[in-house]
Amino acid sequence: MSPSTMSSRPDPNHPDPTPDPSPDPPPGHALDRPALLAALRARIARLDRSGAALEARGDTALPLSPAIDAALPWGGLPRAALHEILAAEPGAAAGFAALLLARAAGPVLWIAPDPDAWPPGLARFGLSPAALVLVRAPRPQDALWAMEECLRCPAIAAALLMAPELDLTTARRLQLAAEAGGALGLLLRADTEAPAPTAALTRWRVGSAAGDSTSAHDLGDPRWKLELLRCRGGKPATWHATWRAGPGTLATDEEPAAPARRRRASA
């Protein structure tokens, strides 16, 4: 169906646990045994915890559109994980983020130095103001702290953080928090030419694409260029998608966009 469908896919019911960076213990070190046991116990507890949080929620991955879901190893965008969105175009990226937040179905927190999320526009993606809580955190350390607290809370469905680029340790910390709490974590930041490595599960670049309306006086439905730049256990891919507000679906083009119609978003 999609050009980037993988030949063999892991079972979507068992999300890929984060590989633990701790190396295998050298055998025969009796002195390290208590520490080793404690580390293993902590690891099992963490796996159990994230598993339990997901079980309680019933579903583990958010559906986007059939073509995109097929390309993702989890059959959708998994909860209990951190996803990074690079905004090639601020409006398109905020729209895509709103779509994900709305599909998470539950209380949503939007954390930004000065949150300019506009509920009348977000409501068209199904994100009701009744579910939205805005958090103003001008200092970066406050914003990161707030994001971590949110992700650890089992009561929320998703949290979005607008922040400049995060270093690996911080992103890893947020990823672990999301695993513990079971919420969907989104990092929304401005696009950069060569993004640094990240600990997030997926990384998207969202830009706008020329609309398919034939009239010069009608904008038509929003069209985005979705680039999956990085995906743990999956392959990068690019789609052109149209948001149909009426039925509330994200429709991807069957064929890759023709070069003539393709207008690259200025990064």
């Binding site: 601020p90 895509f96 506009w118 103001p129 805005l134 406050d142 929320i156 830009g207 706008s208 207008r263």
Partner: protein
């Protein structure tokens, strides 16, 4: 209130209601009342509390109070109602005669403070050593320096004294929750029902004075029924406990200055040979009021306990409170954490017993040197979960400065709401538990950052379409709200852009963002938004909004203003990003 005023025998009313015909002819000609009582709880810091409310003095049926009409009051200053006490409350007054000097802790050398009174520089306060040498308050500065050439001088700081007095009032909250200021150098404590905790009233008096002495403060304390009786005793330097009902006798021999009358009034009374409170009170009431005004009579009544005057507490008493005293001051974070956890447990137990939950909890830490530090946390939903409150406090405890340690920590629930118990477990309360978890998260967040919910509002003006409400309120979305395509991000400060249109009222064809010009492929609009005349100033211009798609695919919400003003150039703004 009114009834009590009617019963009050001697309320001089002249001057307060000049339009009312005087029953005694010219003798009661309108005159301004003299003998205003200064100080006391009325001008204590903070807004006047409702407890202070007093009936309006000018009311026609007050005009013939029993005592004023001819009949002289019985001799001995005893009015018919003076014998029985007005209330069964007990008040402790503290007077700190050397407060401005002692708070600076300069014990080693003779020390004095000076201030400026018109053209003269006067000594305002002197330390014990300096006073022994002959320096006293009110003396000219030059005289004081002549008496004691090595006198250390510093300018007086009345504001600092007032702040210190307030701090001291917070410290005395350890004895009773009801403390009022009696500026400039006094405190009033309502100690009704607390004396037995300290082993009786005498012991309480000693305890207070000793505690203050340990801080290096000289204090005179007196305990009586009426707050002003106790205050007058303390100001006159009499440290004693007056038995219930004995205020009038105890106060009678005291000199007049303790009443804190105005200077010319006190001088006039002295000129008449009236040197003590009892001597003034023994005079015929009517004449006294006629000559010196109602203020003097009121001050006398208050001092002799014939007229109740409630004190206005520094802060309202807490709903519930727990505290712990330490024989050895604690200073480390671990021990403070431990004690706070214990106090929270105790407070939450009390809250559970009363079927309530706290909305606002304050921790007061009493430092050994007399400083009181306070930390408060608030919750969105009433809570009595020690773990949750503990997490809220954990973020704030780092603000404490336990210099030399705390000898007392008190935890008080300042705001309390009814909270019904809910059964936990059995899988029934999952939804409720989730709601509580969200409320706890929002509590934690709002301790450090601003948190709010956007609420739809009935307005078509874009900036007013959404209001900020508390994160704990629930938001309802009206039917048909946000039917039009709107931006997903609205710039708080619209960006000025340059745009070119083919015709004056037409849609833009070229938009310049920064230094780059972009061709507009499609434009929808205009959507005209007129200002709300019932809210906006009349000169606010209307706006034309266009939704445009640039050649890059970017979609913007552009706005044109100023097109309706004659001769003005239309201005273009970027107001938001469309998805």
């Amino acid at each position: 209130m009114r009834r009590r005023c009617c019963e009050t025998p001697d309320v001089g009313q002249e001057g307060l209601c000049p339009s009312w015909p005087s029953p005694l002819g010219g003798e009661l000609a309108p005159q301004t009342p003299r003998g205003e009582v200064r100080g006391s709880g009325r001008d204590a810091a903070g807004a006047p509390s409702p407890r202070e409310f007093r009936a309006p003095p000018a009311s026609p049926d007050l005009f013939f109070p029993g005592g004023v009409r001819g009949a002289p009051p019985p001799p001995g200053g005893e009015s018919p109602r003076g014998a029985e006490p007005l209330s069964e409350r007990r008040h402790l007054a503290l007077h700190l005669p050397r407060l401005p000097v002692e708070r600076l802790r300069r014990e080693s050398e003779p020390f004095a403070l000076w201030g400026v009174d018109g053209p003269r520089r006067l000594v305002t306060a002197a330390s014990a050593q300096a006073e022994a040498a002959g320096v006293h308050a009110g003396q000219a500065l030059a005289d004081a320096q002549a008496i004691l050439p090595d006198l250390v001088l510093e300018p007086a700081d009345p504001a600092g004294d007032a702040a210190f007095l307030e701090r001291l009032a917070l410290w005395t909250l350890r004895f009773t929750p009801l403390v009022a200021l009696d500026p400039p150098q006094g405190l009033l404590l309502d100690v009704t029902g607390v004396a037995h905790l300290f082993g009786g009233e005498e012991a309480l008096l000693d305890t207070v004075v000793q505690h203050l002495a340990r801080q290096g403060l000289t204090a005179i304390a007196a305990l009586a029924d009426a707050p002003m009786a106790a205050a007058v005793l303390a100001r006159a330097g009499v440290q004693r406990v007056v038995p219930p009902g004995g205020a009038a006798e105890a106060v009678a021999p005291l000199p007049l200055f303790a009443l804190r009358l105005e200077e010319d009034l006190a001088a006039a009374l002295h000129g008449l040979g009236l040197r003590s409170i009892g001597a003034v009170a023994a005079q015929p009431r009517a004449g006294l009021v006629r000559r010196f005004g109602a203020g003097l009579a009121a001050a006398l009544d208050e001092a002799m306990g014939r007229r109740a005057r409630p004190i206005s507490p520094l802060r309202p008493p807490p709903e519930l409170g727990v505290h712990r005293d330490f024989a050895e001051p604690i200073a480390t974070r671990e021990s403070i954490d431990l004690v706070v956890a214990e106090l929270l447990d105790a407070l939450c137990r009390k809250l559970r017993e009363t079927g309530s939950g706290a909305r606002r909890v304050g921790l007061s830490a009493f430092r050994v040197d007399g400083t009181v530090q306070e930390i408060a946390v608030g919750t969105g939903l009433a809570s009595r979960d020690p773990a949750h409150l503990g997490r809220l406090f954990a973020q704030r405890l780092e603000r404490l400065e336990p210099d030399c340690g705390y000898d007392r920590l008190a935890l008080e629930a300042w705001q309390v709401e009814a909270l019904a118990g809910a059964q936990s477990g059995l899988g029934l309360g999952a939804r409720e538990a989730r709601r509580e978890a969200l409320a706890e998260l929002l509590d934690r967040l709002s301790q450090r950052v601003r948190v709010w919910r956007p609420a739809p509002r009935a307005s078509h003006w874009p900036e007013r379409e959404v209001a900020r409400v508390s994160a704990f309120e629930s938001v309802t979305v009206p039917q048909g709200w946000a039917a039009r395509p709107r931006p997903v991000r609205l710039l708080r400060r619209p960006l000025r852009v340059t745009a070119m249109a083919e015709v004056p009222d037409g849609p833009p064809r070229l938009v310049r963002l920064g230094r780059v010009s972009h061709r507009v492929l499609r434009a929808e609009g205009p959507e005209r938004v007129e200002p709300e005349w019932w809210r906006d100033p009349p000169e606010r211009p209307m706006r034309d909004y266009y939704r445009v798609e640039l050649a890059t695919g970017a979609r913007l919400w552009l706005c044109r203003v100023g097109f309706d003003a004659p001769g003005a150039e239309a201005r273009w703004y970027l107001h938001g990003y469309l998805p």
